[in-house]
């Protein structure tokens, strides 16, 4: 075949970082081309947030007190939609098998997809933050940048664990039910730490607890990302 000038023998396959960027770019491009799905995710999260506020009624003290919790629950519920979608697109036409047969390092698929999910959840959190502040009548006692930072590391932890479990659930018949069943118990420490750190942003940190919560989130990130890197290649070879 003389169609392409280069020969497979002279081709230099991308390393882990370059392959990760290919996967990340591909996932973000798909999200951009299907913006209706992205909008649905944002509206789902906003609806969840508003439902919490309606459920508690006019009790503004209770709303303010638990606002950080409602904020993270809205993100976590919405994350189930985006994480499921992330592997649904790989299931269509067996695209994940296509990636595998292109001899891509499976770790690059994990990192690329988890980073793609992180970007989505982080963006979602940034959209939800001002809305939460308005709906729950919150005051930001610490920096807004610190809030965005916490949303970022919280999103990373959710995405690492979520990407791994959505890959497992993607081949199951009841995958929409299976993913939250598998994922929510694992995310309990992430919810506790993220809510704890976010609450300090709104209520102030006179006792200097922020470092403990962010440290915990950091450790959870190391654990989830490391486990994902080790275990993901095994599950993709079985898919």
């Amino acid at each position: 075949m003389t169609l392409l000038q280069d020969s497979p023998a002279t081709r230099k396959p991308p390393g882990l970082l370059a392959a990760t960027l290919v996967v990340l770019r591909k996932d973000l491009l798909i999200e951009w081309r299907t913006r209706a799905r992205l909008n649905a995710l944002v509206f789902f999260a906003i609806s969840t947030l508003l439902l919490f506020s309606f459920a508690l009624g006019a009790n503004t003290t209770a709303l303010r007190q638990h606002a950080a919790g409602y904020f993270w629950l809205a993100i976590i519920f919405a994350s189930i939609l985006s994480l499921s979608e992330s592997f649904r697109i790989e299931g269509e036409n067996h695209a994940l098998e296509g990636l595998k047969l292109a001899a891509i390092d499976a770790r690059a698929v994990f990192i690329g997809k988890a980073l793609g999910n992180t970007v989505l959840l982080w963006g979602l959190g940034i959209v939800l933050a001002p809305l939460s502040i308005a709906v729950f009548d919150l005051k930001v006692k610490m920096s807004l940048w610190a809030l965005f930072g916490i949303i970022g590391i919280g999103s990373m932890a959710i995405s690492a664990a979520g990407t791994f479990y959505s890959a497992i659930a993607s081949n199951a018949r009841a995958r929409d039910v299976l993913l939250p069943i598998l994922l929510f118990p694992v995310l309990v420490p992430v919810i506790i730490s993220s809510v704890g750190a976010t609450a300090l942003i709104f209520e102030g940190d006179p006792m200097g607890q922020m470092r403990s919560w962010t440290g915990m989130l950091g450790v959870l990130n190391v654990i989830y990302w490391a486990l994902g890197l080790v275990l993901f290649p095994r599950i993709t070879e079985d898919i």
């Binding site: 075949m1 497979p8 081709r11 991308p14 370059a18 269509e92 695209a95 296509g98 047969l101």
Partner: protein
């Protein structure tokens, strides 16, 4: 004896309680082409998936180009391309974007240019910027062929390549298979169109219920 493209030694594959292949032994010389025949469920697709390292044997030893299909699968995957019932395409990306992604993963020198070249070769230039979701089954098949051309494999595994193609598409596909063979690529072709398949291949392996019924 010429180097073997692949050697299947007493290979079996089980899916749950069902044996898709049972104790199959066969080898094919490099550069030769094989016609794989058999009824639906006879194990043709399973054999192609095994050769493409999409799945691993339950028992037995499979080597491709002297490499072990399990421990050396990364190296094998760079040399083998599988045209299967699944197109491996992302529905929401355009034909060109799909091929650029593959080109980048394969380390092709200029992925956008290479993608455009193979799209032109399969006669899909006018639809290059359209999402795969809008394509007919035949068009998807053509883009799947473009994926195979982009890979330039040493071993091409073609599972029902004429399915879903119109007469023009079938003629194009036959041309591709002849081109592949002329370029020294080993071809394994699974099809129900036996006469057409025989005119394109050197040898034939007929499977029934996962076993070799006849090799000629």
């Amino acid at each position: 004896m010429a180097e073997a493209a692949f050697q299947i030694a007493d290979v079996s594959k089980r899916y749950g309680p069902r044996w898709a292949l049972a104790r199959l032994t066969f080898s094919l010389e490099r550069g030769k082409s094989l016609l794989l025949t058999g009824h639906n469920g006879s194990g043709k697709s399973t054999l192609l998936k095994l050769l493409g390292t999409a799945t691993a044997p339950t028992f037995g030893k499979l080597t491709l180009f002297g490499l072990d299909a399990v421990s050396d699968r990364e190296a094998i995957r760079r040399r083998v391309a599988l045209l299967s019932h699944a197109s491996y395409l992302y529905e929401d990306l355009t034909a060109e974007q799909n091929l650029v992604v593959l080109g980048r993963l394969l380390g092709v020198a200029d992925p956008p240019a290479a993608a455009r070249a193979v799209i032109e070769r399969v006669g899909m230039t006018k639809r290059a910027d359209h999402a795969v979701r809008t394509f007919s089954a035949g068009m998807r098949k053509r883009i799947a062929i473009a994926r195979l051309l982009l890979k330039k494999p040493d071993l091409a595994l073609l599972d029902e390549p004429f399915g879903e193609l119109d007469p023009e598409g079938i003629a194009v596909m036959e041309g591709f298979i002849r081109e592949l063979r002329a370029g020294g690529t080993t071809v394994v072709l699974a099809t129900h169109l036996i006469e057409q398949g025989q005119s394109l291949t050197d040898t034939r392996l007929h499977l029934a219920e996962g076993r070799t019924l006849e090799a000629a």
